[in-house]
């Protein structure tokens, strides 16, 4: 049962790995440049899924402060400085991500049971299991700095009772998607140019022509003839 749980609990990894391997295999085995790019895309997509899945929890909401947050005058300062981003990124995320029971690869909280009331369960390995820490952190910072921070600490404490999805991986992968698009565009553009220059986008024919250009002899004489002499 443990094994099944282990496997099922990490199904997002399996999807990611399978997709990645399919993509890589296409890159390895396909001889057509366009298909190679398709494989490359699949390969990159698997990484997108990986990133998205590690940041997502079922029942989690977007990282927007919920509840009574009154200190409007200090909103920007408070938000930007610590209460949310810092608290989440440094303490909550770090400790939360790593499973308490010492399993190497944390199972994803997609499958973990999330209590309906929003009160985080102490055992579930979610991103936001540490409201106490967050509250303490916020309170600790607030005290002795500025009285207006009291309200911030208050808000953070309330916020901690809501389950947030970690936005950072999603933001990161947005960047990666942009990069992926650029790569695909450039790859396809190159394929077009190759087609113009060589008249083909089949890799073995390209290789035969390059080989001929470099060494002056056909790469595979018998094959070259059988195919009507690509070189």
């Amino acid at each position: 049962m443990d094994i099944i749980e282990f496997i099922v609990g990490r199904y997002n990894y399996w999807i990611f790995i399978t997709l990645m391997m399919i993509g890589l295999y296409i890159v390895i085995s396909r001889g057509n440049l366009i298909k190679t790019i398709v494989g490359l895309n699949l390969f990159q997509t698997s990484v997108f899924i990986f990133y998205i899945s590690i940041g997502k929890i079922v029942g989690g909401t977007a990282p927007i402060l919920v509840g009574s947050y009154k200190a409007d005058d200090s909103y920007g300062e408070g938000y930007g400085d610590e209460s949310h981003g810092a608290g989440e990124q440094t303490s909550g995320a770090r400790e939360g991500l790593h499973d308490a029971d010492g399993l190497d690869i944390p199972s994803n909280s997609l499958s973990a049971e999330v209590p309906a009331g929003g009160a985080p369960s102490a055992v579930s390995g979610s991103l936001h299991q540490m409201p106490d820490t967050a509250r303490e952190t916020a309170a600790g910072m607030a005290s002795g700095v500025n009285a207006t921070y009291d309200s911030v600490a208050d808000a953070a404490a309330q916020g901690a009772e809501v389950i947030y999805t970690n936005p950072l991986p999603h933001v990161l992968i947005l960047t990666a998607i942009v990069v992926g698009v650029a790569t695909t565009a450039l790859g396809l553009a190159l394929a077009v140019r190759i087609r113009e220059a060589y008249g083909t986008i089949e890799e073995d024919e390209l290789e035969a022509e390059d080989h001929f250009a470099e060494f002056g002899v056909p790469l595979h004489p018998e094959q070259g003839q059988a195919r009507g002499g690509a070189a």
């Binding site: 390895i28 085995s29 001889g31 190679t36 890799e203 073995d204 290789e207």
Partner: protein
């Protein structure tokens, strides 16, 4: 700029190197030759201004640091000064000899080469020595290439590899020394550490020196490269590299016992090769190697007399060997060939060159009144005094070898006898060549007649009387009876010239089986590689085909364009990394 450059530029050798670069830019052979000679004289004047100093109290100049290591650009003591003076004389003779015939490359590289040799013997620390060691190696390669033939190119490549290899051994040894002690000073070392174990650093340095000194089995570059150079180039080559190594051995390993054995083997083994070789400059090269054995023996004995003998013999050897190479160069210039089989009777057309060759033969065999007599006697006496009988016998044998190789082969067979077709040449050597040869011959005579002139320059004050009756009688007996035997053998048809062709040496090992093995390995690796890659592809394809029937025949089997290959390789590397990571501990 740093004080390193300031230190280096005080070294006359460095200045000569700079002069070499400038000479490369001058137009016209005459102008280049004049500039070269002026530079040599100027730099010698600089050296002379530094004076000299006894062995135990050297004068150090041009101290600087290079990333924390102490460098001493110049060390003046009697050992370094005598070698530097010798190299200046040799450089001057070379410049005169090549007045009309040195190409731009040879004129310039010859100066750089001489400068590197001078800088090397003046260097006060191992790093500076290495700097000049490498410069000498690299500049001399161009002189080998100056031969201009494709064979010269290939020989030059081999020469380059072995010379740079010698440098690398030296560099590794120096690096190890510095890592172990932090000291860079170039002083006497020992191959055995204090606890009796092998001193690896010293051994590496020893090997580095040994390659250039032509130790047996490490010598093959010498007879390989020297005969390929041009007439002018061979003279330059004969002077510097090997003698620089002799200096380094004398400085670093005096009294190292193994040197006696090595020297004895060198002295004897190479006279046989010299007797068997057919190219006359190859004969000279082997003979040079045999003479180096004398010096190596002397350094190995390590007494004051023996070191003096080795240095004195190095001095004489540069002059007379250079003279013989000059004579052969003159023959090459006029007759166009140096194959022994094609030459005889040249004395009719080239009497003066023949005379020079004769003087060279008298000097190298050690006939009294010539330099070789006094310098050889010192080493032989030292071997005798310290009762190294094997060394002593080897040196005697080497003397007889010189009678055959130089007296008979170089002088008699080439210049005497009936005139061969190739010997019908238009005239004697060109004037500058004759002048250079005459000057060299004069030095041989002066040193032979007035040896105290040389002895005053030697490292140690040692009162040695060369002209005693027993030296005269024994030496003359040795030479005359050897000559008699060769003459009788010729008279009765027992001796013949060696066969025409190439003489195999140690280099055969890497030039034939080595090359075949390398080609085999390359081809085998390529084939195995190909098979592996296709095997993987085929395996993967079969697997996939078994799993999905949808896979068409145009699939993975047919292709080998690198993208897939690289991607697969990346995946394999990643997989290995992951496996190793997970299994590692």
């Amino acid at each position: 700029m740093s004080d390193l450059l300031a230190g280096l530029i005080q070294n006359p050798g460095m200045l000569l190197i700079v002069a070499g670069v400038i000479v490369a830019l001058l137009p016209g052979r005459q102008l280049r030759a004049i500039a070269a000679l002026a530079a040599i004289i100027g730099c010698y004047a600089l050296l002379a201004s530094y004076g000299t100093a006894p062995m135990d109290a050297p004068v150090l100049m041009g101290e600087s640091t290079l990333f924390g290591l102490d460098l001493v650009s110049i060390r003046i003591d009697r050992l370094s000064v005598v070698f530097a003076t010798l190299f200046f004389i040799a450089a001057g003779l070379n410049a005169i000899y090549g007045w009309l015939h040195a190409s731009r490359m040879e004129a310039s590289m010859g100066l750089i080469y001489a400068g590197a040799a001078i800088g090397g013997v003046l260097a006060g620390d191992l790093l500076t020595l290495f700097i000049f060691w490498e410069l000498a190696a690299l500049s001399s390669v161009f002189i080998v290439w100056g031969g201009g033939t494709h064979a010269a190119f290939k020989a030059g490549m081999r020469y380059l590899v072995i010379q740079v290899g010698s440098g690398m051994a030296l560099m590794a040894g120096v690096a190890l020394t510095v890592a172990a002690t932090g000291e860079t000073a170039f002083t006497a070392m020992s191959l055995t550490a204090e606890d009796g174990s092998l001193n690896i650093a010293a051994l590496l340095i020893f090997i580095g020196f040994g390659v250039k000194a032509g130790f047996p089995l490490l010598h093959f570059w010498l007879p390989d490269a020297y005969p390929r150079a041009s007439a002018v180039g061979a003279v330059m080559l004969s002077a510097f590299t090997t003698k620089m190594a002799i200096y380094a051995l004398a400085r670093g390993f005096p009294g190292e016992d193994i040197l006696m054995l090595i020297g004895a083997v060198m002295a004897v083994a190479f006279i046989f090769f010299g007797a068997a070789a057919s190219d006359l400059r190859r004969v000279l090269a082997y003979s040079l190697n045999s003479q180096l054995g004398f010096m190596v023996c002397g350094i190995g004995i390590g007494s004051e007399l023996a070191i003096n003998g080795a240095v004195a013999h190095a001095f004489a050897s540069v002059i007379y060997k250079g003279m013989l190479f000059m004579a052969m160069g003159a023959v090459l210039t006029r007759a166009g060939t140096l194959r022994a089989a094609h030459l005889s009777g040249l004395y009719r057309a080239m009497p003066l060159t023949a005379l020079v060759a004769f003087i060279g033969a008298l000097t190298i065999t050690g006939v009294p009144l010539f330099a070789g007599f006094v310098t050889k006697s010192m080493t032989i006496s030292a071997a005798g005094y310290y009762e190294h009988m094997l060394v002593w016998l080897a040196l005697i044998a080497a003397t007889v070898g010189a009678v055959n190789n130089i007296g008979v082969r170089i002088f008699h067979d080439t210049f005497m006898g009936a005139r061969s077709d190739a010997a019908k040449v238009s005239g004697d050597a060109p004037l500058p060549m004759l002048i250079a040869m005459a000057l060299a011959a004069a030095i041989c005579l002066v040193v032979g007649i007035q040896p105290t002139l040389l002895w005053s320059m030697l490292p140690f004050d040692y009162d040695y009387a060369a002209y005693t009756m027993d030296h005269l009688i024994t030496q003359m007996q040795l030479i005359l009876f050897a000559v008699l035997l060769f003459a009788l053998a010729r008279r009765f048809g027992l001796a013949a010239r060696p066969r025409d062709g190439v003489l195999l040496d140690v280099d055969w090992l890497y030039r034939v089986p080595g090359r075949i093995a390398l080609a085999g390995v390359v081809r085998g690796t390529a084939a195995a590689w190909h098979r592996l890659w296709w095997g993987i592809q085929a395996g993967v394809a079969r697997l996939v085909k078994g799993l999905y029937d949808t896979h068409g025949p145009e699939g993975a089997l047919a292709r080998s364009w690198p993208v897939g290959f690289m991607a697969l390789f990346t995946a394999v590397v990643l997989g290995l990394m992951l496996i190793v990571t997970f299994v590692a501990y």
